[in-house]
């Protein structure tokens, strides 16, 4: 951590040197810590929050409040026209969502599938990042190829996989040459694993990218120092390099989980609607409730319940890894 605080001090005084002082007076040579504080608290450019804040308000906060309001209305195709005055039903939608709909099953599917996909992609991403860390002939090409799944639109990924997973399709005939009959990929219990497989394929480069950025931030001196200490590759990786990756990977884990839980395109294109019961994940369920059954109120209640369910572990996680705390240098690493 000593290198961290050193770097922090170093980066902090670069802008400080050029920035105009609010006090206008001369700076005492011993006032370095005072100066830093002054810059971060008094001169904080809070107005820069206005554009983003306004957009947040319009695009996220207002719709969310509306969504919460919708969740206490009996809003369907019969009442949509005068939706503001549609019948108020209190918590009925919530009760129905929790007791008489596949919501909890959907939450379980979403969270478990996201977690499994995450647990598999993290080692894959790290391994790929470590493997392409040192220069070798063709590294640029390999790195570009690694990014292909990530840059392809979800829709394309899902369409291609769906075609390959057709009964008697490419995957089946490939496995057939080894005498394996894999059964159905796009229907039945196996769909859950199909979804995980395709999700892993599509999302591991994201972990790879963030792991790579973590590796890049390891100072050259660190490599030298561990070499001088005689650390072999595994020990060096385990005790010297991995701690650097903790920050980026925590972030990757968080974003990845949220991304998977919210992923609509992949299951929708792979399995269609109505989805097989084993992949009726949250986004599919809310979609079907809203746009096939036209129960907008119920669907808003479902969305709200799932938001709360996802927010609790998220909050705990954020506190645990301190990603929300920019003051802690460890959070950046």
């Amino acid at each position: 951590m000593s290198t961290d605080s050193f770097r922090e001090a170093r980066t902090a005084d670069v802008p400080a040197a050029g920035a105009p002082q609010p006090g206008g007076g001369s700076v005492p040579p011993s006032g370095r810590s005072v100066r830093r504080k002054g810059l971060s608290e008094r001169n904080r450019p809070l107005w820069m929050l206005i554009p983003g804040g306004a957009l947040m308000l319009i695009i996220i906060v207002a719709p969310m409040l509306l969504g919460i309001y919708m969740s206490v209305l009996n809003l369907d195709q019969y009442t949509l026209r005068k939706w503001v005055s549609s019948p108020f039903v209190g918590l009925e939608n919530f009760v129905e969502a929790l007791t008489d709909s596949p919501l909890l099953h959907a939450v379980w599917l979403s969270v478990s599938y996201s977690l499994i996909a995450m647990i598999v992609t993290v080692p894959l991403g790290i391994a790929a990042a470590v493997a392409t860390q040192n220069a070798f002939k063709g590294r640029a090409l390999i790195r570009s190829v690694f990014l292909i799944p990530y840059v392809l639109p979800s829709f394309v990924v899902a369409t291609v996989w769906r075609t390959m997973f057709q009964p008697n399709g490419v995957v089946d005939s490939a496995l057939g040459t080894f005498g394996i009959d894999p059964g159905l990929w796009l229907n039945g219990p196996q769909t859950y694993w199909t979804l995980i497989l395709v999700q892993i394929w599509a999302s591991w480069p994201f972990i790879y990218l963030l792991a790579l950025s973590g590796l890049q931030s390891v100072d050259h001196e660190v490599h030298e120092a561990s070499a001088l200490d005689g650390a072999l590759w595994w020990n060096k990786l385990r005790y010297v390099i991995f701690p650097y990756l903790k920050g980026p990977l925590s972030l990757a884990f968080l974003i990845g989980m949220l991304h998977h839980i919210n992923n609509f395109t992949l299951p929708f294109v792979l399995f269609g609607v109505p989805a097989p019961a084993d992949v009726e994940v949250l986004p599919i369920l809310t979609y079907v409730t809203s746009f096939q059954s036209f129960r907008f109120g119920l669907s808003a209640a479902m969305a709200f319940v799932s938001l709360v369910l996802v927010a609790i572990p998220l909050f705990i996680y954020l506190r645990a890894v301190k990603l929300d705390d920019a003051e802690t240098p460890g959070g950046k690493k």
């Binding site: 319009i58 695009i59 996220i60 207002a62 719709p63 969310m64 509306l66 969504g67 919708m70 369907d76 195709q77 019969y78 009442t79 949509l80 026209r81 939706w83 057709q166 009964p167 008697n168 399709g169 059964g183 159905l184 796009l186 229907n187 039945g188 219990p189 839980i261 919210n262 609509f264 269609g272 609607v273 109505p274 989805a275 097989p276 019961a277 949250l282 986004p283 809310t286 979609y287 079907v288 809203s290 746009f291 096939q292 059954s293 036209f294 907008f296 669907s299 808003a300 479902m302 969305a303 799932s306 938001l307 996802v310």
Partner: protein, 452 residues
């Protein structure tokens, strides 16, 4: 969650649009009565589905119709297109909530009851019908899904797209079949004769994974057995006729073995491809839109269309409305928005596009059959004859706002049965349980429909 928030977003956009309208200029009612509508300086906004198959032709059609409309009324037409049913639904929702948007919408027939339930579209009065050229200009069967009853109709038929089956004349002749079956039982027998696993040829081509076809089969077989599925406030999905329909439909694969086992993963287009390759005797549940594909295929000149069987499985003749249920009433309706400030202009536009000449022209370009009665009767292409027959023998699906859910429940039975279908048999108890589940979910939806 992402999609739920886009619904919320839609609501916000709608609210914002509402706020903006207050500032905008409210154009006054066209108010003209009798004779040609004067729409000088006005602009009619029309929302219609994009035709991916013939997109260049569709653009040309928009230009041509706009020019003709301008010549008749002096008004411009602005066309907007939607790419999917969901896209359209979002547009309807925002327009319904905000009270502004397109003047004329084009709707699929099975979506018409849901749209009608929002009460956002004009229910035509006798006077209004006169403005679109009179009710008698339309094929009477096509009016079957325009509204809950004859006095309350909002959907004006634009085109018919009835479902028929295609058959391979060569394969049928080789198997010694002189004419295609008219009952489902006979069809299964013919299909067995046509099936030859050694050459990869199967009697029937159909897609079990299609998003629409499965419920259409179940609906047709049930109606032909005398069960219209919806009887007033009661839904009858747990009826023996429905179960028999599923057993027949699944049986082609599990018992009769007359369809390609791979079809558990097929959609309708896969089935068309198999038929086009000469690998199937019959192509079930298809429309005239398969003509362009088949005309370019290996079986060009060797296929013909005919109506699908109208005698329910296990029966010797159609029961109830059976003989009129060769196909669901399928096609497009146009509706006029209730909030439109230029309804007369909208009716004038509909009058133009449903005229005999325009309907025949549309048929030539896009293949969809005319809803205009005279135009329908004047079709001479022998290939289209059986399709036109099916248009007259089409029966509307029940007119209720709950139909979307009923359709979904019927489809879901097939979706959840596919793993067992693939492994060779769907157990009676599993099917029974799924039907019970479908019944209770869809009945709940029907209850809400009858309460509102």
């Amino acid at each position: 969650m992402r999609f739920a928030s886009s619904a919320r977003l839609a609501a916000v956009v709608a609210a914002a649009a509402l706020a903006l309208t207050a500032c905008g200029s409210g154009s006054s009612d066209s108010g003209s009565t009798g004779g040609a509508v004067d729409g000088k300086g006005k602009k009619l906004s029309v929302l219609t589905g994009v035709n991916a198959q013939y997109s260049a032709q569709q653009k040309q059609w928009f230009t041509d119709i706009a020019a003709k409309f301008k010549a008749q009324t002096g008004a411009d037409v602005e066309f907007e297109t939607f790419a999917s049913a969901n896209d359209e639904l979002t547009r309807i929702q925002t327009s319904v909530v905000s009270g502004q948007g397109p003047d004329v919408y084009s709707l699929g027939t099975t979506f018409t009851p849901t749209a009608y339930a929002t009460k956002a579209f004009v229910t035509l009065s006798d006077d209004d019908w006169k403005k679109v050229g009179g009710k008698d200009r339309f094929n009477p069967a096509a009016l079957g899904i325009s509204g809950p009853d004859e006095q309350h109709q909002a959907g004006i038929p634009f085109v018919s797209r009835p479902f028929v089956m295609a058959y391979n004349k060569e394969l049928l002749a080789a198997a010694g079949i002189d004419k295609p079956a008219t009952s489902w039982d006979e069809l299964a027998v013919q299909a067995k004769k046509l099936t030859n696993p050694a050459t990869g040829t199967f009697g029937l081509a159909t897609g079990y994974k299609d998003n629409f076809d499965p419920w259409k089969f179940i609906w047709a077989m049930s109606v032909q057995a005398g069960n219209p599925l919806v009887d007033g406030k009661n839904l009858k999905l747990d009826d023996p006729a429905v179960k028999k329909a599923y057993e027949t439909y699944f049986g082609w694969l599990t018992k009769d073995k007359v369809v390609d086992p791979a079809s558990v993963g097929w959609s309708n287009s896969n089935a068309v491809a198999a038929f086009a390759a000469g690998k199937a005797g019959f192509l079930l549940m298809t429309t005239s839109s398969s003509i362009p594909t088949l005309e370019k295929s290996a079986i060009v000149g060797k296929y013909a269309y005919t109506t699908m069987p109208t005698t329910a499985p296990g029966e010797s003749s159609p029961k109830g409305d059976g003989d009129k249920a060769a196909s669901i009433l399928s096609g497009d309706n146009v509706v006029v928005a209730d909030y439109s400030k230029q309804k007369d202009l909208a009716f004038a536009y509909i009058k133009l596009i449903t005229s005999k000449e325009e309907q025949l022209n549309y048929q030539k370009i896009f293949g969809d059959l005319p809803a205009n009665n005279e135009a329908l009767k004047s079709l001479e292409d022998p290939k289209l004859k059986p399709i036109a027959d099916a248009a007259a023998k089409s029966k509307a699906t029940p007119f209720t706002g709950a139909w979307g859910d009923i359709q979904l429940a019927l489809l879901n039975v097939t979706v959840q049965s596919i793993p067992e279908l693939s492994s060779g048999s769907v157990s009676d108890s599993a099917l029974q349980a799924r039907l019970k589940d479908a019944q209770s979910k869809a009945q709940a939806s029907l209850d809400r429909a009858s309460k509102s």
